[in-house]
Every structure is written in structure tokens, then in C-alpha cells.
Amino acid sequence: MITLASVTKSFGTNNVLRGVDLTIASGKSMVIIGGSGTGKSVLLKCILGLVEHDAGTIALDGQDVRRAERDAFLARFGMLFQGGALFDSLRVWENVAFRLMRGTTKRPKAEAREIAVEKLRRVGLGSQVADLYPGELSGGMQKRVGLARAIAAEPEIIFFDEPTTGLDPIMAGVINDLIREIVVEMGATAMTITHDMSSVRAIADDVAMLHEGTIKWTGPVSQMDSCADPYVQQFIHGRANGPINAIR
């Protein structure tokens, strides 16, 4: 379980997170929604320790993430980055098997490649893709490779940062379905940040609405459409008028 209590983060005078309280239950898929620039990615990076939060507590299974042994902590996570963040200089299979060829999970090269090819197959990519470089792939294929890399070491927790941004609706649907299938299949805890409502409905067990640095509403996805929160209603219906300023 991931617990955030009164988490704040500022960049200079810009107070991005102003006291975030949120709980993500084990084995559940939490989707954080909110407009652009509301701090969704910063929140995710704070949990991973990529950005250090200023105040408040972030705990994983009751342990403060700042006090956790870094390698062991990160070994529990997989992450799909918004742009894929694949390493240009490495082949596709080397990207997928990156964690498997280093550190405590190090395996022989042949075994790591075999696992990488299997994970690529799991996300719908054939073995012929394994020896290509990321630059030779389409955006959708890069997202799939990123997904394969995120699940390669079978992490307990997977983060998805805007998984469908830049994809056409069909490919976005494919990625959403893949994420849902994989999360259920692995029994992993998932946290996704997005402003794509089709992703929310496809991926989420629970939803949290982040706005102006705080969580405005959280609850099961089944209650999202009927909730009375004006921020959620404006956001999910894409209305220009409401408590969220259209021009920020």
C-alpha cells in the first residue's frame, strides 16, 4: 500500500503540491486525473524519489520511502514513461532486459534476451522487433516496448505516466487494454496519471482528482460519473465553465 500524507513540493515560488493525501491499496489500479500542469507527474516522481518532496510523508507498506534502501525500493517498481524513455543506443531487447542484466537481478545474457522476447510477445510485438533500435519503431510500438520494460522484472508496483498521449484512438485502446490485462494478470498495484478519460474507464479501479496541488475527490471509478464534485464533473465532461480555470 502506498500512502501519501500532506505531501508538498514547490519549485521556487510555484507551489505544485500543496498537501496531497492519498492512499493506493495493494493490488488496486489507481488513476490520477487532472489538467495539464497540476502536478500529476511531480507527484509520481516524488513517490519514486526522482523528485524530493519538501514536506509530508510518503510511505510504502508503512515504511517512509526516504528511509528505504534505495535499490531494494526501486526493485519493487516498474514504470512506463510518457515518451517511452527508451535508451536510443541500445537495441529493443536490451532496453527490455536492462534491469535483468544488471544489479541483484542479473542473469546470463541469453536468459535475459529470452525473457525480453517473451515480454515483447506479451505486449504484442514479434521477436523480429527485438534487434531493432528504438528509433526504428513507431510511437505505438515504442509505448509497447516501454510497457514490456516496465514489466520485465515482474514488479509489484507499476506506474504509468500518460500511457496514451500521442497515440491514435485505436492504439490508445490497445495500450489501455494491455495495461489492464497485465495489471490484473500480475496482481500488481498500479498508479496511472492521465487526462484521457477513455484510459480512466479502461484502467482504473479507483480515481483521484488532483487540482491546485491537492486531491479534490477520490473514489471508485464506478462512482466517478455520479459524484457531485464540481471539479470532477467539469473535468470528465470537458466543460470550459466551472471551478477549474480554462486558462491557467
Binding site: G49, L74, F77, M79, A85, L86, R102, G103
Partner: protein
Amino acid sequence: MSPALGLRAVGRPTLAALAAIGRVVLFAAATLGHLLRPPFYWRELGTQILQIGWFSLPVVGLTALFTGGALALQIYSGGARFNAEAVVPSIVAIGMVRELGPVLGGLMVAARVASSIAAELGTMKVTEQIDALTTLSTNPMKYLVVPRVLAATLTVPVLVGVGDAIGIMGGWLVGVTRLDFNSVTYLKNTVDFLEVWDVGSGLVKGAAFGFIVALMGCYHGMNSGRGAQGVGKATKSAVVAASVLILAANYMLTELFFTS
């Protein structure tokens, strides 16, 4: 202008400069710290030795060749004013191995390598590849910075050594073909006047310049701003900082080696 405003005008940039120096020193200290502690990425080191060392050979070699030739012409023409044309081989050799070989080699590597490292790491930062490395339990300092700094520190002295030889050869070529020197006499004078420390000091300078070049490339790349403009600025800053630091370090090392 009031004294307070004047003080502020001087104080702000001074503080900013001191803060920047502090950040670079901390980055260098962190790099050296990671250099001594495992894990070590040998494959990355090998790749960087190839990229920084081997692929810089043509540009360093050509620079040295033309510099050695021009130096021979200059010394011959200057020496002719007081009948000292005979010193061309020894001055070319000493000038190349002590100063021009390391400095021009270092500057050429700075132009080629510092820019390339800063652009590569800056792009990696902008596209979240450095964050991705961290989430994959790989320390970016160990995986990206240490191999580049170590490779440059090891290979630039070799490049300087090769550049020295080619530069002396450039001087010899001009001396024999254009200035009517006897080939054997030219080479004998070169060898007779060169001392081991002349060459050694140049190689030490090369190691220092290699360290500076890679450190500046890595520092500016890892701290690149967002977007194409951020990467462009990081690349420019890396080359400028590396070039200026090479010239400053060259003066200090020359002072240290040859004036005591």
C-alpha cells in the same frame, strides 16, 4: 549609482559565479566518489574509449600536423632575424610536446567531445531517459558520467602523445621539403633536445584536459534545461567552459611544472 546599487551589481554575479563553481566542484567530487565504488560498467567504458579516443584521432592528428608545419615556418622566419634557423627542430619539438600538442589537442577534443556528451546527456534528460535509468536501479552517475570521465582522462593523453609525434613530423616535413634541412640532422636535433619530462608534462596536461572536457560535458548535460533550447544552451556552455578551463589549467600546470 549609489554605493548599495554598485555593491549589488558586483555582488550578485560574484555570488552566482561562486555558487556555480561550488556545484561543479560537488559534481566532480561525486564523480570521483563513484569512480572508486562498484558497480563498474566496463562495457560502457570500452564504448566511451572508442568514441572519445579512437574517433578523435583524425581531428587531433590533422590539427597537430598543420600546427607542427606552421610552427617550423614561424620559428625559421623568426630565427632568421638573429641567425638562429638551426633551432627549428628543437623548438618545434619542445613547443609541440610541452604546449601546442596538449592545448590544441585538448581544445579540439573539447569541441568534439564536450559538445557531444552535453548534447547526448541533455537529450537523455529531456526525454526522461535519465529518470528511466534511476527507476531501473541504475545510478546515472555511475552508468553515464564515470565511464565518460574515465575514458577521456585515459585517452586524451594518448591522443596528445600521438598528436605530438604527428606535429613533430609536420615540422620535419616542412623543414626538409621547404626549409632545406637535412632529414637525419633534423631528427637528431629533435631527439637530442627533447627530455623525458617535456613529453611527460604534456601527457599529464592531456589527462587533466581530458578530465575537464568530459566533466564539463557531463555536468552541463546532466543539468540541461528543457527542450531543444535547453540542450543547445547546455552544449554551448560545455564547450565554452571546457575551453576556458583548459587554458586556465594549462597556465597553472605550466607554472607548476616549469617555474619551480
